[in-house]
């Protein structure tokens, strides 16, 4: 499994496609976490399930946790959930790449 992260529109998806042309890509993983928690799923369990089902996938996500803690409880829960889920994915990945301005830095 591989994980590509970055702030909004930092080129993580393009980088993931370029570096893994044949792999199955799961884009906008943070939005999938949003859908999962709306359905009442636990974000860690959701991520663990994905790791089991698609161990060779390339996961792409936005970093959403580096802001002022939102007043809105559901927004707070969303950011926290994305963090928890991505910790699981990052632990399961052999490679984690963080994109800034389209440039990837391999952090794992």
């Amino acid at each position: 499994m591989k994980l590509y992260i970055g702030g909004a529109y930092q080129g993580q998806e393009e980088l993931a496609v370029r570096e893994n042309p044949k792999a199955e890509l799961i884009p906008d993983f943070h939005e999938k976490v949003r859908e999962a928690i709306l359905k009442g799923e636990d974000p860690k369990a959701f991520a663990q399930k994905l790791c089991l089902e698609k161990p060779d996938a390339v996961i792409v996500a936005n970093e959403v946790g580096a802001g002022i803690v939102p007043m809105e409880a559901s927004e707070r829960a969303f950011r926290e959930a994305v963090g928890r889920a991505l910790c699981v994915i990052a632990q399961a990945s052999d490679t984690v790449v963080r994109a800034v301005c389209g440039i990837g830095a391999r952090i794992k």
Binding site: A66, G67, V69, R76, R79, G83, C87, V96
Partner: protein, 172 residues
């Protein structure tokens, strides 16, 4: 040794900081808790953190404001969690933000080891009301000052420590 650990929401900062402390001496291991518990959500957060460090031999010291008043034995190994809560309490609950840095300086002199958790709240691009903007600015200033004092600083990115300064004081 002083370490500063930063990162975004839910990125595994606490887990990493606790792991760091668990590799340091066991004598007088103190957890300084700064969050005020005022609702069910903060109760859940405290419960999760307590469970996380349950077997690590910490004595918990509640210190939501006025860090200089925390009774710490010289030579202790201290985990201070976290700067953003301490700053919010000082700024919005009748304290003084200016006393945080001197108190941390003093704490780091007194401690054998000090691990500090802070937070990255700087990247959402939102312009907030003045008091919040002031809070963001002060937290950024504190983080920059604390990095100067620290022997080791790292940003935790979804459980992965990315070094900002120095080298980790122990293998993790």
């Amino acid at each position: 040794m002083m370490a500063l650990i930063t990162g975004g929401s839910g990125c595994g900062k606490s887990t990493y900081a606790e792991k760091l402390v668990s590799r340091l001496p066991l004598e007088n291991r103190v957890y300084i808790a700064t969050m005020r518990v005022y609702d069910e959500e903060s109760e859940r957060r405290v419960a999760r953190h307590r469970a996380q460090r349950a077997d690590k031999g910490f004595k918990t010291l509640e210190c939501p404001i006025d860090l200089a008043g925390a009774a710490i034995e010289p030579g202790s190994t201290v985990l201070l969690e976290d700067v953003p809560n301490l700053l919010a309490n000082e700024m919005f609950d009748g304290g003084s933000a200016e006393r945080i840095l001197p108190a941390i300086r003093e704490l780091s002199r007194k401690c054998g080891h000090l691990v500090i958790v802070t937070n990255d709240v700087f990247c959402d691009g939102v312009i907030y009301p003045d008091s919040t903007q002031e809070y963001i600015r002060k937290l950024a200033e504190l983080n920059r000052e604390l990095v100067l004092l620290a022997d080791y600083a790292a940003e935790v990115v979804y459980s992965i420590p990315v070094t900002l300064k120095g080298t980790a004081p122990c293998d993790l």
